[in-house]
C-alpha cells in the first residue's frame, strides 16, 4: 500500500517568514492533493497536482510535484496567522490497479503555527 511521509511534523514560524512543507511517497504518485485543516473543521482543498514537474499557485501558496512524481512540496510566502493549521497531503491510487481516484491515502499532516 502507498505511504505518505510529511515533514516536518510541526513548524513554528514568525509572521512574514517563508516556509516549506514536504510530502514524500513510497510509490509513484498519480494524483497528489493538498488540504488544510483547522481544529474542529473539515478539510479545505488547496490544490491537486498530477504531472511530473507541475507547479500550481494560489495566493501565497505554491505546490510542486517533482519530475519523478514521488515528492511534493508546499511553499508559503510571507506567512500570516491565517495560514496556521494542519496541512495534509493525500494521494490517489492509479486506475486499473483496483483503486479509485478518490480513495485517498493521507499523510499524518504538518501542524503550522504562525506567530504574529
Amino acid at each position: 500500500s502507498q505511504e505518505l511521509e510529511q515533514s516536518p511534523q510541526s513548524l513554528i514560524v514568525q509572521e512574514g517568514k517563508n516556509l516549506t512543507i514536504n510530502c514524500t511517497s513510497s510509490k509513484t504518485l498519480y494524483g497528489l492533493y493538498w488540504y488544510k485543516q483547522k481544529y474542529g473543521e473539515g478539510l479545505i482543498f488547496l490544490m491537486m497536482l498530477q504531472k511530473g514537474g507541475e507547479e500550481k499557485s494560489h495566493e501565497k501558496i505554491t505546490a510542486k510535484l517533482d519530475e519523478k512524481k514521488q515528492q511534493s512540496s508546499l511553499h508559503i510566502t510571507a506567512s500570516q496567522p491565517s495560514h496556521a493549521g494542519i496541512y495534509l497531503c493525500g494521494a490517489d491510487s492509479p486506475r486499473g490497479s483496483g483503486g479509485s481516484n478518490y480513495k485517498l491515502t493521507f499523510g499524518k499532516g504538518t501542524l503550522l503555527t504562525v506567530n504574529p
Binding site: 473539515g42 478539510l43 493525500g90 499524518k108
Partner: protein, 115 residues
C-alpha cells in the same frame, strides 16, 4: 445549506452501544465518502458511494461498521457494539459528478468518543 453537513458534531457513548452518524452532502453530488481520523493521524478511507450503492467499502474495519445511502443523498454510518478504539472524528465528503479538479468537499466531522 451550501456545504456538507454532519450530525451530530459530538457524540459520547458507552462501550457496547450502537451509534449512527449522519451526512448530508452538497446537493447534486452523486459521490459520497466516509473517512475516519484518529488523533494525530491523517484521515483513513472507509467507504465510497456512487449514487445509492457502495462502490468501494474496502476501508470498513470490520462487520460492526455499516453505511447506507438509500436515496442517493443523505448517508448514515452505523457502528454496532462500539469499542474504545472506535473513538475518532468521522469525516464525510462529497464530490461533483463531473470530477473537475478532483476536489472532495469535506464536512466538519462527527467526533465520536467511546467511554
Amino acid at each position: 445549506g451550501a456545504g456538507v453537513s454532519q450530525t451530530p458534531s459530538n457524540k459520547v457513548t458507552e462501550k457496547g452501544k450502537y451509534v449512527e452518524l449522519r451526512c448530508d452532502p452538497i446537493s447534486g453530488h452523486t459521490a459520497l465518502y466516509w473517512y475516519r481520523q484518529s488523533l494525530g493521524q491523517g484521515p483513513e478511507f472507509l467507504i465510497y458511494f456512487q449514487g445509492t450503492g457502495a462502490a468501494d467499502d474496502s476501508g470498513l474495519p470490520n462487520d460492526r461498521f455499516f453505511a447506507v445511502r438509500p436515496e442517493g443523498s443523505v448517508s448514515t454510518l452505523k457502528i454496532q457494539r462500539t469499542e474504545r478504539g472506535d473513538s475518532a472524528v468521522y469525516l464525510c465528503a462529497s464530490s461533483s459528478p463531473s470530477g473537475g479538479t478532483g476536489e472532495l468537499f469535506f464536512g466538519e466531522g462527527s467526533r465520536l468518543t467511546v467511554l
